[in-house]
Protein backbone atom coordinates (compact mmCIF):
# COMPACT_ATOMS: atom_id res chain seq x y z
CA UNK A 1 0.00 0.00 0.00
CA UNK A 2 1.52 3.26 -1.01
CA UNK A 3 1.89 6.15 1.42
CA UNK A 4 -1.02 8.14 0.01
CA UNK A 5 -3.43 5.31 0.61
CA UNK A 6 -2.03 4.73 4.05
CA UNK A 7 -2.53 8.37 4.88
CA UNK A 8 -6.05 8.33 3.52
CA UNK A 9 -6.91 5.34 5.63
CA UNK A 10 -5.56 7.02 8.73
CA UNK A 11 -7.57 10.14 7.97
CA UNK A 12 -10.71 8.03 8.05
CA UNK A 13 -10.32 8.29 11.78
CA UNK A 14 -10.09 12.08 11.76
CA UNK A 15 -13.81 12.86 12.09
CA UNK A 16 -14.09 10.76 15.22
CA UNK A 17 -10.91 12.24 16.66
CA UNK A 18 -12.38 15.69 16.18
CA UNK A 19 -15.79 14.65 17.44
CA UNK A 20 -14.34 13.32 20.66
CA UNK A 21 -12.17 16.37 21.25
CA UNK A 22 -14.75 19.02 20.44
CA UNK A 23 -17.64 17.41 22.27
CA UNK A 24 -15.62 16.60 25.36
CA UNK A 25 -14.31 20.16 25.37
CA UNK A 26 -17.84 21.52 25.26
CA UNK A 27 -18.94 19.17 27.99
CA UNK A 28 -15.99 20.29 30.05
CA UNK A 29 -16.93 23.91 29.42
CA UNK A 30 -20.54 23.32 30.43
CA UNK A 31 -19.32 21.77 33.68
CA UNK A 32 -16.22 23.80 34.40
CA UNK A 33 -17.50 27.35 33.95
CA UNK A 34 -20.45 27.05 36.35
CA UNK A 35 -18.32 25.11 38.83
CA UNK A 36 -15.72 27.86 38.84
CA UNK A 37 -18.31 30.50 39.66
CA UNK A 38 -19.98 28.30 42.23
CA UNK A 39 -16.65 27.63 43.90
CA UNK A 40 -15.83 31.35 44.00
CA UNK A 41 -19.12 32.82 45.05
CA UNK A 42 -21.06 30.27 47.01
CA UNK A 43 -20.76 28.89 50.52
CA UNK A 44 -18.58 26.24 52.11
CA UNK A 45 -20.66 23.13 51.37
CA UNK A 46 -20.68 23.97 47.64
CA UNK A 47 -16.96 24.62 47.73
CA UNK A 48 -16.32 21.24 49.25
CA UNK A 49 -18.40 19.48 46.60
CA UNK A 50 -16.54 21.22 43.80
CA UNK A 51 -13.18 20.47 45.40
CA UNK A 52 -14.00 16.79 45.75
CA UNK A 53 -15.16 16.62 42.14
CA UNK A 54 -11.94 18.23 40.98
CA UNK A 55 -9.67 16.13 43.16
CA UNK A 56 -11.23 12.83 42.17
CA UNK A 57 -11.38 13.50 38.46
CA UNK A 58 -7.86 14.83 38.37
CA UNK A 59 -6.42 11.96 40.35
CA UNK A 60 -7.63 9.10 38.17
CA UNK A 61 -5.81 8.10 34.98
CA UNK A 62 -7.74 8.81 31.79
CA UNK A 63 -7.44 5.17 30.78
CA UNK A 64 -8.99 3.90 34.01
CA UNK A 65 -11.75 6.51 33.83
CA UNK A 66 -12.62 5.49 30.29
CA UNK A 67 -12.65 1.82 31.28
CA UNK A 68 -14.85 2.59 34.26
CA UNK A 69 -17.33 4.54 32.18
CA UNK A 70 -17.45 2.18 29.21
CA UNK A 71 -17.00 -1.26 30.68
CA UNK A 72 -18.43 -0.42 34.07
CA UNK A 73 -21.26 2.04 33.65
CA UNK A 74 -22.00 1.36 30.01
CA UNK A 75 -21.65 -2.33 29.37
CA UNK A 76 -21.77 -3.38 33.00
CA UNK A 77 -24.63 -1.37 34.44
CA UNK A 78 -26.21 -0.65 31.10
CA UNK A 79 -26.40 3.16 31.11
CA UNK A 80 -27.93 3.92 27.71
CA UNK A 81 -25.58 6.52 26.22
CA UNK A 82 -22.47 4.96 27.65
CA UNK A 83 -22.83 1.63 25.90
CA UNK A 84 -21.36 3.15 22.78
CA UNK A 85 -17.57 3.38 22.94
CA UNK A 86 -17.41 6.77 21.25
CA UNK A 87 -19.92 8.40 23.60
CA UNK A 88 -18.38 6.71 26.61
CA UNK A 89 -14.93 8.03 25.76
CA UNK A 90 -16.31 11.50 25.08
CA UNK A 91 -18.21 11.52 28.32
CA UNK A 92 -15.23 10.34 30.36
CA UNK A 93 -12.89 12.90 28.83
CA UNK A 94 -15.58 15.55 29.14
CA UNK A 95 -16.12 15.21 32.85
CA UNK A 96 -12.40 15.23 33.44
CA UNK A 97 -12.06 18.31 31.29
CA UNK A 98 -14.74 19.88 33.46
CA UNK A 99 -12.42 19.48 36.45
CA UNK A 100 -9.52 21.04 34.54
CA UNK A 101 -11.57 23.91 33.17
CA UNK A 102 -13.03 24.61 36.57
CA UNK A 103 -9.50 25.28 37.79
CA UNK A 104 -8.59 27.33 34.74
CA UNK A 105 -11.63 29.56 35.08
CA UNK A 106 -11.15 29.92 38.79
CA UNK A 107 -7.67 31.23 38.26
CA UNK A 108 -9.02 33.66 35.70
CA UNK A 109 -11.74 34.89 38.03
CA UNK A 110 -9.17 35.47 40.72
CA UNK A 111 -7.07 37.34 38.21
CA UNK A 112 -9.90 39.72 37.42
CA UNK A 113 -10.31 40.70 41.02
CA UNK A 114 -13.08 41.51 43.43
CA UNK A 115 -13.53 45.11 42.36
CA UNK A 116 -15.23 44.36 39.07
CA UNK A 117 -17.84 42.49 41.06
CA UNK A 118 -18.25 45.34 43.55
CA UNK A 119 -18.60 47.89 40.76
CA UNK A 120 -21.25 45.75 39.13
CA UNK A 121 -23.20 45.33 42.37
CA UNK A 122 -23.02 49.08 42.95
CA UNK A 123 -25.05 49.49 39.78
CA UNK A 124 -27.78 47.35 41.24
CA UNK A 125 -26.97 44.25 39.23
CA UNK A 126 -27.74 41.02 40.99
CA UNK A 127 -24.97 38.53 41.60
CA UNK A 128 -26.09 36.44 38.67
CA UNK A 129 -26.30 39.42 36.37
CA UNK A 130 -22.87 40.57 37.46
CA UNK A 131 -21.48 37.16 36.66
CA UNK A 132 -23.11 36.98 33.24
CA UNK A 133 -22.42 40.49 32.01
CA UNK A 134 -19.22 41.46 33.75
CA UNK A 135 -17.23 38.52 35.11
CA UNK A 136 -17.80 35.81 32.52
CA UNK A 137 -16.71 37.74 29.39
CA UNK A 138 -13.50 38.81 31.06
CA UNK A 139 -12.96 35.33 32.46
CA UNK A 140 -12.99 33.91 28.96
CA UNK A 141 -10.43 36.34 27.69
CA UNK A 142 -8.04 35.70 30.53
CA UNK A 143 -8.58 31.95 30.39
CA UNK A 144 -8.02 31.61 26.65
CA UNK A 145 -4.41 30.38 26.77
CA UNK A 146 -5.38 27.79 29.37
CA UNK A 147 -8.38 26.78 27.29
CA UNK A 148 -6.18 26.46 24.25
CA UNK A 149 -3.89 23.97 25.94
CA UNK A 150 -6.89 22.14 27.40
CA UNK A 151 -8.26 21.67 23.89
CA UNK A 152 -4.88 20.47 22.62
CA UNK A 153 -4.82 18.03 25.51
CA UNK A 154 -8.20 16.65 24.51
CA UNK A 155 -7.11 16.13 20.93
CA UNK A 156 -4.21 14.07 22.17
CA UNK A 157 -6.25 12.20 24.75
CA UNK A 158 -8.86 11.27 22.16
CA UNK A 159 -6.33 8.62 21.22
CA UNK A 160 -7.20 6.74 24.41
CA UNK A 161 -10.51 5.88 22.78
CA UNK A 162 -8.44 3.57 20.61
CA UNK A 163 -8.14 1.20 23.56
CA UNK A 164 -11.86 0.59 23.72
CA UNK A 165 -12.11 0.16 19.97
CA UNK A 166 -13.26 3.52 18.66
CA UNK A 167 -12.28 3.99 15.04
CA UNK A 168 -10.31 7.19 15.41
CA UNK A 169 -6.90 8.05 14.00
CA UNK A 170 -4.78 5.92 16.30
CA UNK A 171 -6.81 2.85 15.57
CA UNK A 172 -6.65 3.48 11.87
CA UNK A 173 -2.87 3.76 12.09
CA UNK A 174 -2.89 0.42 13.87
CA UNK A 175 -4.93 -1.15 11.06
CA UNK A 176 -2.55 0.15 8.46
CA UNK A 177 0.36 -1.19 10.45
CA UNK A 178 -1.26 -4.59 10.64
CA UNK A 179 -1.99 -4.60 6.93
CA UNK A 180 1.37 -3.40 5.71
CA UNK A 181 3.64 -4.66 8.49
CA UNK A 182 5.24 -1.24 8.17
CA UNK A 183 5.86 -0.10 11.70
CA UNK A 184 7.29 3.24 10.82
CA UNK A 185 5.28 5.27 8.36
CA UNK A 186 1.74 4.88 9.70
CA UNK A 187 2.82 5.64 13.23
CA UNK A 188 4.84 8.68 12.28
CA UNK A 189 2.15 9.90 9.92
CA UNK A 190 -0.51 9.67 12.59
CA UNK A 191 1.79 11.37 15.10
CA UNK A 192 2.42 14.29 12.81
CA UNK A 193 -1.27 14.61 12.12
CA UNK A 194 -1.86 15.05 15.80
CA UNK A 195 0.89 17.64 16.04
CA UNK A 196 -0.71 19.46 13.13
CA UNK A 197 -3.99 19.53 15.01
CA UNK A 198 -2.61 20.69 18.34
CA UNK A 199 0.09 23.14 17.40
CA UNK A 200 -1.81 25.83 15.47
CA UNK A 201 -4.75 25.95 17.85
CA UNK A 202 -2.67 26.33 20.95
CA UNK A 203 -0.46 28.97 19.35
CA UNK A 204 -3.32 30.94 17.83
CA UNK A 205 -5.36 31.04 20.99
CA UNK A 206 -2.27 32.07 22.91
CA UNK A 207 -1.67 34.99 20.56
CA UNK A 208 -5.30 36.05 20.43
CA UNK A 209 -5.50 35.86 24.21
CA UNK A 210 -2.38 37.96 24.79
CA UNK A 211 -3.47 40.57 22.28
CA UNK A 212 -6.95 40.88 23.71
CA UNK A 213 -5.57 41.06 27.21
CA UNK A 214 -3.25 43.88 26.30
CA UNK A 215 -6.00 45.72 24.47
CA UNK A 216 -8.25 45.58 27.49
CA UNK A 217 -5.52 46.17 30.01
CA UNK A 218 -6.29 42.95 31.80
Amino acid sequence: MDPINQLALILVGLPRTLAISILSFLLGLAIGLPLAFIRTYMGKPYQIVVDVYEKVLRGIPEVVLIFFVFYGLGLGLGFPLLKDALTAATFALGIRSGAHQSQIFRGAIRGIGEHQMVAARALGLSRLQAIIYVMAPQTFIIASPGLGSEYALLIKDSSYAFIIGVVEMMRQADRVRAATLDMVFPTLAATFLYILLTFPIATYLDMWGSRKKKQLGL
Partner: protein
Protein backbone atom coordinates in the same frame (compact mmCIF):
# COMPACT_ATOMS: atom_id res chain seq x y z
CA UNK B 1 -38.24 71.80 54.25
CA UNK B 2 -36.67 69.65 51.54
CA UNK B 3 -36.92 65.88 51.62
CA UNK B 4 -34.37 63.67 53.23
CA UNK B 5 -32.84 61.61 50.45
CA UNK B 6 -30.61 59.44 52.53
CA UNK B 7 -30.02 58.91 56.19
CA UNK B 8 -28.13 56.74 58.58
CA UNK B 9 -28.90 56.39 62.28
CA UNK B 10 -26.46 55.14 64.86
CA UNK B 11 -24.42 53.35 62.28
CA UNK B 12 -21.67 51.02 63.42
CA UNK B 13 -19.27 48.91 61.39
CA UNK B 14 -16.88 46.62 63.19
CA UNK B 15 -14.30 44.35 61.57
CA UNK B 16 -13.09 41.89 64.17
CA UNK B 17 -11.34 44.14 66.69
CA UNK B 18 -11.43 47.23 64.57
CA UNK B 19 -14.22 49.75 64.88
CA UNK B 20 -14.33 51.45 61.52
CA UNK B 21 -17.53 53.40 61.97
CA UNK B 22 -18.66 54.42 65.44
CA UNK B 23 -22.24 55.45 66.05
CA UNK B 24 -22.62 57.75 63.08
CA UNK B 25 -25.85 59.54 62.33
CA UNK B 26 -26.13 61.65 59.24
CA UNK B 27 -28.87 62.93 57.00
CA UNK B 28 -28.62 64.24 53.48
CA UNK B 29 -31.37 66.30 51.92
CA UNK B 30 -32.28 66.87 48.33
CA UNK B 31 -29.79 69.10 46.58
CA UNK B 32 -27.23 68.86 49.37
CA UNK B 33 -23.56 68.66 48.59
CA UNK B 34 -21.76 67.36 51.60
CA UNK B 35 -18.08 66.67 51.80
CA UNK B 36 -16.49 64.30 54.28
CA UNK B 37 -12.81 64.67 54.98
CA UNK B 38 -10.30 63.50 57.53
CA UNK B 39 -7.12 61.50 58.07
CA UNK B 40 -6.60 58.24 56.18
CA UNK B 41 -7.96 55.19 57.82
CA UNK B 42 -10.59 57.20 59.64
CA UNK B 43 -13.39 55.08 58.22
CA UNK B 44 -14.77 57.50 55.64
CA UNK B 45 -14.79 54.98 52.81
CA UNK B 46 -16.34 52.37 55.04
CA UNK B 47 -19.11 54.78 55.94
CA UNK B 48 -19.85 55.39 52.29
CA UNK B 49 -19.96 51.70 51.53
CA UNK B 50 -22.34 51.10 54.39
CA UNK B 51 -24.65 53.78 53.06
CA UNK B 52 -24.69 52.11 49.66
CA UNK B 53 -25.10 48.76 51.39
CA UNK B 54 -22.04 47.47 49.59
CA UNK B 55 -20.99 46.39 53.07
CA UNK B 56 -23.52 45.42 55.71
CA UNK B 57 -23.44 47.64 58.80
CA UNK B 58 -22.87 45.87 62.07
CA UNK B 59 -25.44 47.96 63.89
CA UNK B 60 -27.71 50.81 63.04
CA UNK B 61 -29.97 51.71 60.16
CA UNK B 62 -29.68 53.14 56.69
CA UNK B 63 -32.62 54.87 55.06
CA UNK B 64 -33.08 55.69 51.42
CA UNK B 65 -35.99 58.07 51.36
CA UNK B 66 -38.66 56.36 53.42
CA UNK B 67 -37.27 52.87 52.90
CA UNK B 68 -35.12 51.21 55.54
CA UNK B 69 -32.33 49.30 53.84
CA UNK B 70 -30.99 47.48 56.84
CA UNK B 71 -34.18 45.53 57.41
CA UNK B 72 -34.00 41.89 56.36
CA UNK B 73 -35.78 41.03 53.15
CA UNK B 74 -35.03 44.28 51.37
CA UNK B 75 -34.29 44.09 47.65
CA UNK B 76 -30.82 45.59 47.79
CA UNK B 77 -30.31 45.45 44.04
CA UNK B 78 -33.28 47.74 43.52
CA UNK B 79 -32.00 50.04 46.26
CA UNK B 80 -28.53 50.19 44.77
CA UNK B 81 -30.05 51.20 41.47
CA UNK B 82 -31.23 54.38 43.19
CA UNK B 83 -27.81 55.11 44.67
CA UNK B 84 -24.97 56.15 42.42
CA UNK B 85 -21.46 55.21 43.46
CA UNK B 86 -18.13 56.43 42.13
CA UNK B 87 -15.04 54.53 43.25
CA UNK B 88 -11.58 55.79 44.12
CA UNK B 89 -9.99 53.30 41.78
CA UNK B 90 -12.69 53.80 39.18
CA UNK B 91 -13.22 50.13 38.37
CA UNK B 92 -14.71 50.47 34.94
CA UNK B 93 -15.56 47.15 33.30
CA UNK B 94 -12.47 46.33 31.26
CA UNK B 95 -14.20 44.37 28.55
CA UNK B 96 -16.73 47.05 27.62
CA UNK B 97 -16.33 50.30 25.79
CA UNK B 98 -17.11 53.56 27.55
CA UNK B 99 -20.61 53.42 26.10
CA UNK B 100 -20.96 49.79 27.06
CA UNK B 101 -19.95 50.57 30.61
CA UNK B 102 -22.53 53.30 31.00
CA UNK B 103 -25.32 51.32 29.28
CA UNK B 104 -25.01 48.22 31.35
CA UNK B 105 -26.85 49.45 34.43
CA UNK B 106 -29.83 50.96 32.60
CA UNK B 107 -30.08 47.92 30.37
CA UNK B 108 -29.75 45.12 32.89
CA UNK B 109 -30.70 46.56 36.25
CA UNK B 110 -33.38 49.00 35.14
CA UNK B 111 -34.31 46.67 32.30
CA UNK B 112 -34.78 49.51 29.85
CA UNK B 113 -35.15 48.63 26.18
CA UNK B 114 -31.93 48.81 24.18
CA UNK B 115 -32.61 52.13 22.50
CA UNK B 116 -33.64 53.92 25.65
CA UNK B 117 -30.67 52.57 27.58
CA UNK B 118 -28.36 53.76 24.84
CA UNK B 119 -29.90 57.21 24.78
CA UNK B 120 -29.49 57.55 28.52
CA UNK B 121 -25.90 56.42 28.29
CA UNK B 122 -25.12 58.91 25.54
CA UNK B 123 -26.76 61.68 27.56
CA UNK B 124 -24.67 60.85 30.59
CA UNK B 125 -21.48 60.71 28.55
CA UNK B 126 -22.27 64.06 26.95
CA UNK B 127 -22.80 65.55 30.38
CA UNK B 128 -19.33 64.48 31.47
CA UNK B 129 -17.95 65.67 28.11
CA UNK B 130 -16.85 62.26 26.90
CA UNK B 131 -18.94 62.22 23.75
CA UNK B 132 -15.99 61.55 21.41
CA UNK B 133 -14.72 58.64 23.45
CA UNK B 134 -17.73 56.40 23.57
CA UNK B 135 -16.20 53.63 21.50
CA UNK B 136 -12.97 53.54 23.48
CA UNK B 137 -12.04 50.86 25.96
CA UNK B 138 -11.01 51.88 29.49
CA UNK B 139 -7.43 50.83 28.82
CA UNK B 140 -7.31 53.43 26.06
CA UNK B 141 -8.42 56.28 28.28
CA UNK B 142 -6.49 58.40 30.73
CA UNK B 143 -7.28 58.17 34.43
CA UNK B 144 -9.27 61.38 34.38
CA UNK B 145 -11.28 60.24 31.38
CA UNK B 146 -11.92 56.89 33.01
CA UNK B 147 -13.23 58.52 36.14
CA UNK B 148 -15.51 60.75 34.12
CA UNK B 149 -16.93 57.65 32.50
CA UNK B 150 -17.29 56.27 36.01
CA UNK B 151 -19.36 59.30 36.93
CA UNK B 152 -21.42 58.88 33.77
CA UNK B 153 -21.99 55.27 34.73
CA UNK B 154 -23.53 56.41 37.99
CA UNK B 155 -25.48 59.27 36.36
CA UNK B 156 -27.11 57.10 33.73
CA UNK B 157 -29.03 55.34 36.46
CA UNK B 158 -30.74 58.66 37.33
CA UNK B 159 -29.96 58.04 40.99
CA UNK B 160 -31.47 59.93 43.90
CA UNK B 161 -28.01 60.55 45.30
CA UNK B 162 -24.44 60.02 44.20
CA UNK B 163 -21.82 58.81 46.66
CA UNK B 164 -18.25 59.52 45.64
CA UNK B 165 -15.35 57.80 47.41
CA UNK B 166 -12.25 59.97 46.89
CA UNK B 167 -12.90 60.29 43.17
CA UNK B 168 -9.64 62.09 42.48
CA UNK B 169 -7.24 60.49 44.95
CA UNK B 170 -5.94 57.82 42.60
CA UNK B 171 -5.39 60.23 39.74
CA UNK B 172 -2.28 62.06 38.67
CA UNK B 173 -2.52 65.72 39.74
CA UNK B 174 -2.89 67.04 36.16
CA UNK B 175 -5.88 64.81 35.63
CA UNK B 176 -7.89 65.76 38.69
CA UNK B 177 -8.97 69.05 37.17
CA UNK B 178 -11.27 67.54 34.58
CA UNK B 179 -13.00 65.40 37.19
CA UNK B 180 -13.45 68.30 39.58
CA UNK B 181 -14.90 70.44 36.80
CA UNK B 182 -17.34 67.67 36.03
CA UNK B 183 -18.40 67.50 39.65
CA UNK B 184 -18.84 71.27 39.74
CA UNK B 185 -21.16 71.01 36.76
CA UNK B 186 -23.19 68.35 38.50
CA UNK B 187 -23.39 70.46 41.62
CA UNK B 188 -24.76 73.33 39.60
CA UNK B 189 -27.43 71.06 38.24
CA UNK B 190 -28.60 70.34 41.75
CA UNK B 191 -27.60 66.71 42.01
CA UNK B 192 -27.44 65.46 45.58
CA UNK B 193 -23.93 64.32 46.42
CA UNK B 194 -21.99 62.96 49.34
CA UNK B 195 -18.30 63.12 48.60
CA UNK B 196 -15.30 61.85 50.47
CA UNK B 197 -12.40 63.98 49.32
CA UNK B 198 -9.35 66.05 50.15
CA UNK B 199 -9.90 68.54 47.38
CA UNK B 200 -10.17 71.60 49.58
CA UNK B 201 -10.60 74.31 46.92
CA UNK B 202 -13.46 72.32 45.49
CA UNK B 203 -14.98 71.92 48.94
CA UNK B 204 -14.81 75.62 49.56
CA UNK B 205 -16.49 76.47 46.28
CA UNK B 206 -19.19 73.91 46.09
CA UNK B 207 -19.99 72.11 49.34
CA UNK B 208 -22.92 73.13 51.51
CA UNK B 209 -21.46 71.39 54.48
CA UNK B 210 -18.13 69.88 55.38
CA UNK B 211 -17.87 67.02 57.80
CA UNK B 212 -14.64 66.26 59.60
CA UNK B 213 -14.35 62.55 60.26
CA UNK B 214 -11.79 60.86 62.43
CA UNK B 215 -11.54 57.50 64.17
CA UNK B 216 -14.91 56.44 62.96
CA UNK B 217 -17.00 59.40 64.06
CA UNK B 218 -18.04 62.85 63.05
CA UNK B 219 -15.89 65.26 65.00
CA UNK B 220 -17.19 68.49 63.61
CA UNK B 221 -19.47 69.68 60.87
CA UNK B 222 -20.40 72.98 59.44
CA UNK B 223 -20.22 75.34 56.48
CA UNK B 224 -16.91 75.36 54.62
CA UNK B 225 -15.99 78.89 55.71
CA UNK B 226 -16.00 77.66 59.27
CA UNK B 227 -13.30 75.11 58.61
CA UNK B 228 -11.17 77.46 56.60
CA UNK B 229 -11.26 80.25 59.13
CA UNK B 230 -11.79 78.88 62.61
CA UNK B 231 -12.58 75.24 63.17
CA UNK B 232 -13.89 74.60 66.63
CA UNK B 233 -12.32 71.25 67.50
CA UNK B 234 -8.64 70.79 68.18
CA UNK B 235 -8.33 67.88 65.82
CA UNK B 236 -9.97 69.70 62.96
CA UNK B 237 -7.72 72.68 63.61
CA UNK B 238 -4.63 70.50 63.45
CA UNK B 239 -5.79 68.70 60.32
CA UNK B 240 -6.66 71.89 58.47
CA UNK B 241 -3.35 73.42 59.43
CA UNK B 242 -1.44 70.47 58.03
CA UNK B 243 -3.53 70.43 54.89
CA UNK B 244 -3.06 74.10 54.20
CA UNK B 245 0.65 73.89 54.85
CA UNK B 246 0.87 71.02 52.40
CA UNK B 247 -1.05 72.75 49.65
CA UNK B 248 0.88 75.97 50.22
CA UNK B 249 4.15 74.14 49.73
CA UNK B 250 3.01 72.10 46.73
Amino acid sequence: MTDVVMECRNLWKIYGNIIAVKDVSLEIREGDIKLIFGPSGSGKSTLLRCLAMLTTPTKGDVFLGEECLTKPGVDLNKARARIGFVFQHIWLFHHLTALGNVELGPRRTLKLPKREARERAMQALIEVRMKEWTKHYPAQLSGGQQQRVGIARALAMHPEIILLDEPTSALDPELTGEVIDTLKDLAKKGITMLIVSHEMPFAREVADEMIFFDEGTIIERGRPELFFTSPRSERAKKFMARLIKRTARG
